[in-house]
Amino acid sequence: MAFQMILNFVLAFVWMFLSSNYTATGFIIGFIMGILLLILMRRFFKSRLYVYRLWALLNLTLLFFKELILANVQVLKVVLKPKLDMQPAFFAYPTVLTQDWEITLLSSLITLTPGTVVVHVSDDAKTLYVHAIDINDVDEAIASIRDSFEKAILEVSRS
């Protein structure tokens, strides 16, 4: 991915030198033409086109903001309820992610989403121990939410 981005920047600069147009507009035109060239030459790269990965990253960001707002609505409901009748609990969540940055990203996302805070990552980094604020109905819902997060992270990191 980094190689493709650098290649695209170099192509944009080459375009600027060729047209001797050293402005932001010239750079953007060169960048777009570089993307077209990369799409034409995609079968020579080992990994995916980096455009897809940027798109996946954008999707992950949007999903994250949606979940953050939902999490706050849920905390608001729990805090302002006249009777505190939630049932907190710890549960284990087995993850399929392997690299360290993926696990860090997943735990940050879980911490900022509805009703869950990551408390412990097991030593072999295969299980996350999560504290849930209300265990009754949330367990399945949380599983689906985190499956969507895990899937989105896998989509970003897939080569």
Partner: protein, 122 residues
Amino acid sequence: MNVNQMIEWAAVILILIGSIVSVISAFGMIRLPDVYTRSHAATKSSTLSVLTCLLGAFIYFWVHDGFVSVRLILGILFVFVTAPVAGHLICRAAYRSRVPLAKGSGEDELKSKLFPEEHTVK
């Protein structure tokens, strides 16, 4: 009312939402029973309130003074990176120094993992 004023009102409403969420977060810190549930209120609500307040300030200075403050955007970014890690570390330190859970908590899968000797005694 022209467009600039409407955008300024949007900034005002963002800052208002941020303050309300932050007040609710403070209520949560008082009302919730133990460290772990309090960390829910602290991490999520304070992150969102800081986000909306900084965003409101950013929009206000942009529209009113024509000044794009990159520092506010960087502030939002840093809060997003650090707040969940801080919440995680506080919870983890609390669990390792055996702070008890609130009454009426469900099962505790972590206990047998972290403190196996106590689990076998009970």
